[in-house]
Amino acid sequence: MTQSSNYYHDKITLRLVQFSVIWAVLAMTAGVYISAELVWPTIDFGQFWLSFGRLRPLHTNGVIFGFGVSALMATAFYSVQRTSHVPLFAPRLAWFCCYAWQLIVLLGGLSLLAGWNSSKEYAELEWPFDIAIAIVWVCFGIVFFGTIATRKIKPIYISNWFYGALIIVIAMLHIVNSLAMPVSIDKSYSLYAGAQDAVVQWWYGHNAVGFLLTGGFLGMIYYFLPKHAERPIWSYRLSVVAFWAFVYSYIWAGPHHLHYNSIPEWVQSLGMAMSVILLAPSWATMINGIMTVSTAWEKLRSDPALKFIVLSLAFYGLATFEGPMMSIRSVNVISHFTDWTIGHVHSGALGWNAMVTYGTFYFMIPRLVDRELYSVRLANIHFWLALAGTMLYVMAMWAAGVSQGLLWLSVDQIGELSFDFKDIMASMTPYYLLRLVAGLIFLGGTVLMAYNLYMTVRGRETARVTVPAVDPAYGVGA
């Protein structure tokens, strides 16, 4: 082994975190802008690229693929080296993944602004991007599994199982759902017709939530939470049981997005039943996390990052309870198509995904550059802004969603609708204004973090971390 390969490849991690933070600020700004458009619809100024229909997929793709996937790649590369006691396999390929992914997000975002859109939610990018994503994703898999294959530690730590599931399942979902017949560079038609297309789309859509926004981030929490807390996970056995239960039950849940649609009723019922079952592995993980941190409370004194992780677990608990409940058909008949769904998604996206990522960044960046965090005070302010923003967002959307569900379906004594759809939607302005304020508060916190991390990293090189010696009891071949 050469001398240089005795160090972890952490420069890639740092670069990916920097891109992730940039995408977070840009994509959340797009989110705030479209929430303002729902209050003042004319602020698109007649420009197509500023219209809600184009900015909305830019917001979701930017957050999920720009902010989320960059953070997942960064943390996967960081943790797989440390749990395997080897440097990254094929570091050049890892650099390719890093930059090629950013290019896809950038050009993909521009293509959405130009109006290219496959009309599949969370898979809006057109076929040239789909092919590019598949190639980069397979490279990501080669780097990750190659590192695991060359590991020096015999057991494969639980976080790697979650990251591994993320890579395999997302590859499968993305390739199957994106199969299409191109008619021009910017337009293609899905290989599936009608209701089948809808079922494939939501099999993809819900499992993108499941394996990317849940599974991937669970990998993050299983590595970084014990690191923060400086003690092992409360029950390792529970984490393994929860992993397999999670993988098995999530993949069935997609049809709950299509309740009361033109798909067979038994498929809807199956999707509902599996969604309800999903509560068990989700909460097993939440309890495992909370119990791990509950004995490490004294760490909170010095570590602002841990607060984000603790709160992210509370919101994870909320979102994974709310989801199964909303999948029950008698609840869904009222909640479907209302803003309650938007509130639910954001209790997960802001409260869980963003918070756990912020906590991880505050932990990881000072270690990557071997310097104290620039300002603990700013991180604490960020924590309260993130909490207030999320709560306000969720509450505003709950109120709006329940009002919509109730008013849309209200009938009078002779069975005619009591309220006009247009009037109901016009009356939503105050809630949308509250949501705009919530988004601004949350974005403000993210900007504070970006500044804090920038000041921490400024003028510093990535610290070189030597691969430690392997304890013979755990080594490969032991």
Partner: protein
């Protein structure tokens, strides 16, 4: 240790909350005493205000016409509201006491009841907004109050239950998790009941 709480504790909790929590940490009240002397009177306020408001004006959900219900169904709804609030208060106090062993906090159930009453008091008083049964006015008044109550929960737990602030932060976050789940359950249960034909007339 005294078993009585000062009668003005609830009022003091509104303008000097930290002082009120300090005082609470010096007493071990009986749960029944807390319930009948303080909690019950506060818990009655929201359903009462809602009954008066809705019977006089009807709920404005944003649409032109307010949603009106007969006095009979309003009484049932208000009674249900009261029961839900009572259940919420008592179950939160019990869960808080159950969590106390994990976080090494004081386990006197009366103190947990009193703590939850103080934390919920601003919400009970702010429910005066129910006298104006317009959803948006209520949201506007109750959301900031809720954030204030959350602040009280985070501040109050370590002082009143005598644990370090860091441990209190963990316990408060766990309780926030429970409260969020309880709130969303309430939404889900209401919707399922509406679908089944209880409450407002829906075309489902």
């Amino acid at each position: 240790m005294s078993s009585k709480i000062d009668s003005y504790l609830l009022i003091r909790a509104l303008y000097q909350p930290l002082n009120a929590f300090e005082q609470l940490s010096r007493v071990d009240p009986s749960p029944a005493g807390v319930m009948f002397r303080y909690s019950l009177w506060l818990v009655i306020l929201p359903p009462l205000f809602s009954l008066i408001g809705a019977s006089n004006f009807g709920w404005r959900l944003g649409a032109a016409e307010p949603l009106r219900m007969t006095l009979g169904s309003l009484l049932i709804v208000s009674a249900g509201y009261l029961l839900v609030l009572l259940f919420g208060l008592v179950s939160t106090a019990i869960i808080s006491r159950w969590m106390a062993t994990t976080y090494g906090a004081n386990t006197s159930i009366g103190r947990h009841m009193a703590l939850m009453t103080i934390v919920g008091a601003p919400l009970a008083f702010a429910s005066v907004a129910h006298l104006f049964p317009d959803v948006f006015i209520n949201v506007l008044v109750l959301i900031p109050t809720m954030i204030w109550s959350m602040y009280l929960l985070y501040k109050g737990i370590p002082i009143a239950l005598e644990i370090p602030p860091e441990r209190g932060m963990l316990m408060a976050s766990s309780l926030v998790g429970w409260l969020l789940v309880a709130a969303v359950s309430l939404l889900g249960i209401s919707m399922a009941l509406w679908t089944m034909g209880f409450g407002p007339l829906l075309g489902v």
